[in-house]
Symmetry: C2
Subunit: 340 residues, 2 copies
DNA sequence: GCGTCTGTACAACTATTGGTTGTGTATTTT
DNA sequence: AAAATACACAACCAATAGTTGTACAGACGC
């Protein structure tokens, strides 16, 4: 099926005759005739009844018309998604199941008119590069991992803190616990495949492991979350961390157990990064929505949030190995994420 | 933008390399390279970063991918809408604002998985012809208008009776009435443009006018419902009939008034026509939905309904000019629509 | 370091496609 | 009956998309 032919079909249906559609499209009537004939050949049905006074859709043509319009709209949206200039708001999230993805779905429900594109970049370096080139408009990341000061032309706004649960199989030693203290996880094997050592997630879990003596293994290839959950369910010696509000689409027969972690609760701090000069009209709406969600939503904010205009320097200070802090006792956040 | 190129793009994104996508599509790698290059030229952005081990989407490519998939799905749906065999259920409604259209929207909400195509045929003759050739699966019509006995191979099921209101402008003599008796409309001018004399609507209003001495004018070209409402609002001498549950999308400043009609209430009897042997799997679901809606919905049924297996003969008897009857007093239905 | 392998791009050639002009046919209008 | 209108078919031409052959670049193994 040829999109030009479909476009021609809609033009004929609106004009009521081949001739007028031809002048509208600035081609000859014969070309229109050929295109329609080709489309009818492709589809295997007759779309117009030709009369000496024009052409009107057959029943098949009538049924086809709304689908044809939708097809052309889809083509327009696809082209707009990569058009430089006023393209859809392009937001990078860390993965499709985390808090950032959920927030973006909620934003889409609240603002259905805002065209959105969600992409998933590998690490914060590529996200920063994409923000600076304008390839993406915003990125949910944990700033600022050590060794990567945020450039001056980017801003970061702390938008949501995601508490982490322990996820175990039915045979795990902690499967029946109502809650578990972070310190009690020392010695247990935590498996987080796919965590890259240099990435922000890597830095987060590295700091967590160092502070509480955990054994976090990121070895082995990452075969996706399905394989991860399968392994967790079948291996009593392994457990993993999972965002508190992550919905698991998984048969209950697997007997996966979600155990809250307390004293302190490890939370993953998400910030929204953007370029300081990005003029995209939907960005203020996104910020407003995130601020409102942090104030009243299910996922709260452990710390104070800077505005998008604030400087994005790393400003990480050392020390303070004790859990908690930053105004919300019982919450653990890496040192390097405290300020900001 | 070329659909084949988009399809190729998705194949490459899934395969991760041009080579594999080429074998999947049974074309050469060079052809894939050309198609992708052409698509990138059309869109004005680079979609893949070519590496010695394959190709992976750029940020633009990532953003484009879901739109590309949606575009291909839309193309599939468009092709399926005219494919002989198991195509979407194709239902003919009288116009886009009537009770039939509303019922079909409700059915779509209740059964989102059932693919639907709505068409609007001109008159009952073409609807009957389309039903017999299989061009449409079902048709909402008023059976059986005089002079058109329903063929034996079609069945009709009375599904909904639509009460009619009087619609007037603010200056009309009856604009302030809380309700008006049908007999009191004698002498007033009722304007129904676009009603064809031979059609079922024409027969309905003809019978209504004859029985209650109304003056129904169907003269003048039908410029659409917007123009009709505009004229009604501005002309104190004119009024029109409108289905009770028809939602008017019209500024309130026009001051259009909706006046219920009583003693009796004129109702338009909709039946669902279909071919006796139509095996479309969605037809039973549609019948079940309509039966449930008639039993409990806002628009009730004035008379008893026959099953889809019952014979569809006209069976109209004359006589009984008095209002009411058929088990629901105070309701007016044309003689020829009483039985069935 | 160097060949080999893998994967994509470019070039040349060819078949097909899609556009044009010119003409034919059917129906309505004058 | 002639003119006008509207679509289809035929011939022709240019542009496109496919093929084969070749070149180039990075990864891997020895």
């Amino acid at each position: 099926m040829d999109l030009e032919a479909v476009r021609t079909y809609v033009a004929v249906a609106e004009a009521g005759q081949f001739q007028k559609a031809a002048t509208d499209l600035t081609i000859t009537q014969q070309a229109v005739s050929k295109r329609i004939a080709g489309l009818e050949r492709d589809l295997g049905v007759r779309l117009f009844t030709r009369t000496p006074r024009g052409a009107e859709p057959t029943v098949d043509g009538q049924a086809f018309l709304p689908h044809a319009r939708e097809l052309l709209r889809a083509a327009d949206r696809a082209a707009a998604s990569v058009r430089p200039g006023s393209r859809p708001l392009r937001v990078d999230v860390i993965n499709s199941r985390g808090a950032a993805s959920r927030l973006m779905r909620a934003f889409h429900r609240a603002h259905p008119g805002v065209e959105l594109d969600i992409v998933m970049l590998l690490d914060i370096e590529s996200a920063v590069a994409a923000l600076r080139t304008g390839a993406i408009d915003a990125s949910f990341r944990a700033v600022a991992a050590p060794g990567l000061p945020l450039p001056e032309d980017l801003t970061a706004t702390r938008v949501v803190d995601e508490p982490l649960d322990l996820l175990t199989g039915p045979g795990h030693a902690l499967a029946a616990a109502r809650a578990v203290r972070l310190a009690d996880l020392a010695g247990h094997r935590i498996w987080m495949p796919g965590i890259l050592p240099g990435s922000e997630w890597g830095a987060y879990y590295e700091a967590l492991a160092a502070e509480f003596g955990l054994t976090i293994e990121s070895t082995g290839p990452n075969f996706g979350s399905d394989a991860l959950l399968d392994t967790i369910a079948d291996t009593p010696a392994l457990a993993t961390f999972m965002g508190e509000d992550t919905r698991l689409v998984w048969p209950t027969t697997h007997g996966l157990r979600r155990v809250p972690i307390t004293d302190p609760v490890p939370v993953y701090p998400h910030s929204l990064l953007q370029h300081r000069d990005n003029p995209h009209p939907a960005l203020p709406a996104l910020h407003a929505h995130l601020a409102a969600a942090a104030g009243s939503g299910a996922v709260g904010m452990a710390g104070a949030s800077g505005g998008p205009g604030a400087s994005g320097g790393p400003g990480a200070s050392g020390g303070e190995g004790a859990p908690g802090g930053e105004g919300a006792p019982g919450v653990w956040i890496p040192d390097w994420a405290r300020v900001r």
